[in-house]
Amino acid sequence: MHPILDYLWIIPLLPLVGSAINGIFGWNWSKTTINAVALGSTGLSFLCAIEAVREFLDYFAQYHQPFTKHFVDWIVAYKDLTIGFDLQIDHLTVVMLLVVTGVGFLIHIYSTGYMAHEEGYFRFFAYMNLFMFFMLILVLAANYTLLFVGWEGVGLCSYLLIGFYYLRHAAAQAGKKAFIVNRIGDFGFMLGMFLLFRTFHSLDFHTVFEAASQPSVAHESLGQFGVLTVACLLLFMGATGKSAQIPLYVWLPDAMEGPTPVSALIHAATMVTAGVYVVARSHVLFLHSETAMYVVAIVGCATAFFAATIGLVQSDIKKVLAYSTVSQLGYMFLGCGVGAFSAGIFHLMTHAFFKALLFLSAGSVIHAMGGEQDMWHMGGLASKIKVTFWCMLFGTIAIAGFFPFAAFFSKDAILFAAFNSEHGGKALYAVGLLAAVLTSFYMFRLVWLTFFGKNRYDEHHVHVHESPRNMTVPLMILAFLSLTGGWFAFPALFGGKDYFTDFLSPVFASGETAGGEALHSLELALSGVAMVAATLGLIVAWRMYSKDVKRGPETGLHKLLYNKYYVDEIYQAVIVNPLIWISRNILWKAVDEGTIDGAVNGIAYGVREIGDGVRHAQSGNTRSYAVWVLVGAVVVFGIIFWPILHPVLFGGVR
């Protein structure tokens, strides 16, 4: 009845097959063949995803419940631990599914152009397909364990792709950094999973959420540090790792060492949003614990502002976009934190569109500049690469949140939710608004530095040229999407209903903070304020960068910002170095060499000594051996004949 739903595993399987084929046989294949395999698998899984969505909606209309299917038992370890390879689709998954496969597909197309002249072409696409596979597993998983598999898998692919230019030391370092920092988050995530299992004796979403929504559990978690609180915080720790929130955001900017399409796909559109997805997925748990919600909201809000400030002064075009990604993710968490999960997911989707667009455009610019990434060596490109310019401009307007572009709706929804969330909502709103101003400022700064003013590069070496068709077409599609992506919420402006929220309502029905129609006028007002903020940013940027500017000396605050608050150095000093010291001097020297090796060697030495002592019994003299045999015989006979003999020997006694 539902061909794809019944074989849901086909969707993740396709990229995996593509990855395997490319990875194993691609090494001496022509680019065309590799493209065919990579794009074919991704595109097919995109189509399958669309079909799956259609079938799911049909299915939902019938049964009014998420579709879950158990395929095979994976782990059957303990009487109540049975983890199957279960996939599930509900409305949240639908959004993620379409975003991942769709945007992924576009970026694949783009990559065929961007990576055309790179070494390891087949390797790149094998990794990309593998990433798609894991990401799909992540979003389709019906239990935390399988989700964790995808979670780790995307981490692995991110590591591989960041370090794609593994000959560059910086790239390799960045890859390792991303991996390790993620490990810290995953550690928390696993603890959270263990805690959940210990509490609910299961890891299936359905079971856990059912149990969690029991009043008893809710009651149990009322103590602000009940089980659920801790579990949620731990899960959120994982989310901060994966989604680059304070304090674990440091890896994302470095991740820009990877190829630009990677930055677009993994570090903007899909993977980094996994954290948000998890939080949204577990909203049932989060809603039980106000503390956790607060933490999420505050961390998100803080990250949004903090990263935005850093973004203000970066000179590397991709670094700017990286920090903007961090801060946008912060927005998403803010949304989730204040209970507007649908708003968060909404922003996730729109952000996927426009941030992918921005990154790809940046990639196109870099491509045009022949690998130059420093904005201070660009300028005046608008006339030379028109398509890229317009797409970039679209993206900028979209992220800045001008009407009627995507972020206008999504960011608004978040800010509005924050505004009228109880206790302290106003503060969150204020910071969020400030971050919005900064966002539009640094984005327009980027545009001006890149495309306007007189060119600050050497004409003779750099031959600026428009990117090929297979790069520009995805740009246009994404530009269109980032224009229209937000229009689901259009009617809400005029008192209509927010289709997106409506669409997700089956998932988040439980705990959406009411609002909307009730305070319709207020929402309009806040939208206005947001517009003003964006415009403010635009004007400031225009004032500062429209006329050609020299790169000023970094001093004071500027320097502090430019050096990212020295966070990396602080981490290095406070965490990394002590860890290395402990590992080297205590764990290695004392524990390993001293205790363990010492024990082993000591045993060996003792054995040798004993053998050296006993060896003299092995004289090799047959007669001695014979006597030993006799001794043994005496003992054995003595034991056997004891009952008969002891009257003989000790008859006299008693």
Binding site: S619, R623, S624, V627, V634, F637, L645
Partner: protein
């Protein structure tokens, strides 16, 4: 003190004496002769017990084959008087006491244990019934021993042949 008891004591005395001489003789061939005497005496004891076949086999195989082999080897290696080295202190001091202790334990156990009354030798099964037992109840072990012999022959050939041929 009937005749058979007398014969027993005579044979037993001969056996023990020969065994002692086996120990005391310096030259291996004299030890071998003593051992032959022991075996013949034992054969006589078997006859006394009515185990005629075993007695005959004892002499034919042990006396006629095994010991001949020993004598051969002694002649072949032209073994002289044995030298009384005492490299093994253990054997020098503890050896004989230990052996005596084992024998004593066994003897004590025998004297202490209750044995079935001896039966009239004439009542013992004849050679025919022995062969029945051997070729019906114990036929597989019997065949196995033939294999064992075969293997032993091969082993002996392999061991004793010179590297040349």
């Amino acid at each position: 003190m009937n005749a058979s008891l007398a014969i027993f004591f005579v044979l037993a005395a001969v056996a023990v004496a020969a065994a002692v001489s086996l120990i005391l003789q310096r030259h291996p061939i004299h030890s071998a002769l003593s051992l032959i005497v022991v075996m013949v005496a034992l054969a006589g004891l078997y006859l006394l017990m009515g185990a005629e076949f075993v007695a005959a086999v004892q002499i034919i195989v042990y006396g006629g084959a095994v010991m001949v082999l020993f004598v051969f080897v002694i002649m072949l290696l032209n073994a002289g008087e044995e030298e009384h080295t005492n490299f093994s202190k253990l054997a020098a001091y503890a050896g004989i006491p230990m052996a005596v202790a084992v024998a004593g334990l066994i003897a004590a156990a025998i004297t202490r244990s209750t044995l079935p009354p001896a039966q009239d030798p004439t009542a013992l099964t004849s050679t025919k019934s022995l062969s029945m037992l051997l070729f019906q109840d114990f036929v597989y072990p019997f065949e196995l021993t033939s294999f064992l012999i075969l293997v032993a022959i091969l082993g002996a050939i392999v061991l004793a042949q010179r590297e040349g041929n």
